[in-house]
């Protein structure tokens, strides 16, 4: 069992409270996932031409400024507990290739920051100061591990591509074979987690040129198992449940925000939820939000 949440703010005036709402939503899913927790927050705070990379190292005394200094004189690094957010000019892909081998990449892109760690959702949220974070949207995960170790690296969200990440409630049954299939096609993996396979699969399909919606629809055919996914993108997020809807999900929308959660509990404290349209996403249907509008496709 795991819990997943997502929040997209339609009203930019709410962006200063994104983190506090996301924290409350994560805590609402504590019983579904007390092992570890993580979240992705999107905010456009970079100069033009800069990329943002979230890094992790277990050593609290790790020399993060040296990482930035070795990359570029204009690079900046902001340490946040065991994580650090690197801001540097250039494409994320080029920067990733020049990072020291002993740091782990949690996320990369223009707007995404990913923080994840072992512990109760409230502890993890407090460790990284989630409540004070601003942004346009975010997704989160609380984990109750069933098939791989409980570590920072095994926690969700998993980065799938620039500004694209995935959280998963459920378990996949064909992930070993699918991982081999993806490795043969050039994808690399950092854990033995089934959800990472889903993230890499989405990245692979999008690398083939498919838009997110089509990549997810291809996943309906290729991913065997049960799942609810939430996928964060630069301009919104998407939700997909497996074809027989083994895992729960609730969606809610007001004029100010769109939210999803495994259970209503995590939506109960959102402002104006009493008047929100609340519904259950149908199985096998991709729901996505962006700056444009809600889209829905079977």
């Amino acid at each position: 069992m795991c819990g997943i949440v997502g929040l997209f703010l339609k009203n930019p005036a709410l962006s200063s409270s994104l983190g506090s709402h996301l924290k409350t939503m994560l805590i609402g899913m504590t019983e579904r996932g007390p092992d570890s927790s993580g979240f992705a927050v999107y905010r456009a705070d970079q100069p033009a031409g800069f990329s943002k990379i979230t890094l992790y190292h277990p050593d609290p005394a790790y020399d993060w400024p040296a990482v930035a200094a070795a990359l570029d004189p204009a690079a900046k690094i902001t340490v946040n507990a065991s994580h650090a957010v690197l801001s540097a000019p250039g494409a994320a892909g080029d920067l990733l290739a020049r990072l020291p081998a002993d740091v782990a990449v949690m996320g990369y892109g223009a707007e995404i920051e990913i923080y994840k760690d072992v512990g109760l959702p409230e502890e993890v949220a407090d460790r990284f100061g989630l409540a004070e974070m601003t942004g346009s949207h975010g997704i989160g995960h609380t984990r109750m591990a069933t098939e791989s170790a409980v570590t920072t690296a095994h926690s969700h969200p998993f980065i799938a591509g620039p500004d694209i990440c995935l959280v998963h409630n459920g378990s996949l049954s064909n992930y070993n074979r699918l991982r081999s299939w993806l490795i043969r096609r050039g994808m690399t993996f950092t854990t033995d987690n089934d959800s990472e396979v889903a993230a890499r699969y989405v990245a692979f399909r999008m690398g083939q040129g498919l838009p997110l919606r089509e990549a997810l629809k291809a996943g309906l055919r290729d991913l065997d198992g049960f799942y609810t996914f939430a996928i964060g993108t630069r301009d919104g997020f998407a939700v997909l449940r497996d074809g027989i809807a083994c895992k729960p999900a609730v969606l809610a929308e007001t004029d100010d925000w769109v939210a999803m959660a495994s259970e209503f509990r995590s939506l109960a404290a959102l402002p104006g939820v009493d008047k929100a349209k609340v519904w259950e996403p149908a199985p096998g249907v991709v729901y996505s939000w962006s700056d444009e509008s809600l889209e829905q496709a079977a």
């Binding site: 027989i244 809807a245 729960p248 609730v250 259970e263 209503f264 509990r265 939506l267 109960a268 404290a269 009493d274 609340v278 519904w279 259950e280 149908a282 199985p283």
Partner: protein
């Protein structure tokens, strides 16, 4: 008995669900009959395991298993509910004024579950005698393995309705996307229409029994087929 007093109000922003349920379990003939629960905020297992004919009105959305194992009580949810509302209900009434998520009234033995909105997938899964009336539509695999009782759907039914059904009866007013294994349409007799009319009236749902079609078991899965002996 205390039938005319104001309802007892329990605020779940203050009290725990465990406290509420303990108070409801401790009821006896002298206890208050009318209860109002506020700020449920989607919490699970609200008003589960009641054994006394009290009326519990819950103002707002509830989580999983609300009204589960209910005996005698009347439970009304003024909101949506999560998975397994009225699960294994034994008697009494559970009424949801919004929509219900998956597995509504699963394994229910008797009593009545009314969903005034839509119910999601697996509504009435393995039902064993409960009557379920859904004002809207139901999702896929509803009445899966249904053994006894009646499922009434005033809207449409999703795929695989009544898969592997035993002796439960299904009435659907709208369209059925597909019937599950061993589920077939059956004749609607005057007796069925009269019984359905009585059930709809009891559920407080305004619908004409003449508009419904009846579905049930083809009874082809009950026994081993000797034609398959060669497979072993």
């Amino acid at each position: 008995m205390n039938a005319t007093a104001d309802p007892v109000i329990v605020d779940l922003a203050e009290a725990s669900v465990r406290d509420l349920n303990q108070r409801l379990h401790d009821l006896d003939d002298d206890g208050p009959r009318d209860w109002r629960v506020i700020n449920p905020r989607g919490q699970h297992a609200i008003a589960v395991g009641l054994k006394y004919p009290a009326k519990i009105v819950i103002d707002g959305p509830v989580g999983y298993y609300c009204g589960g194992m209910n005996m005698e009580a009347e439970i009304v949810v003024n909101g949506h509910c999560g998975w397994g509302v009225g699960e294994n209900i034994m008697s009494g009434i559970v009424r949801v004024r919004g929509n219900a998520s998956e597995s509504a009234a699963a394994t229910g033995r008797a009593g009545l579950v009314v969903i005034e909105g839509d119910a999601s997938s697996r509504c009435g899964i393995s039902m064993k005698g409960v009557d379920i009336v859904v004002g809207g539509s139901v999702g896929h695999m509803s009445a899966f393995l249904a053994q006894a009782g009646r499922l009434v759907v005033c809207g449409d039914a999703g795929p695989d309705l009544g898969a592997s059904i035993y002796e439960a009866i299904i009435y659907v007013r709208g369209t059925v996307e597909s019937l599950g294994t061993d589920c077939i349409e059956k004749d609607m007799t005057d007796d069925h229409r009269a019984a359905l009319g009585e059930l709809l009236a009891r559920a407080g749902i305004d619908a004409d029994p003449a508009d419904f079609r009846r579905y049930g078991s083809a009874r082809q899965l009950y026994h081993f087929k000797v034609d398959n002996a060669d497979a072993y």
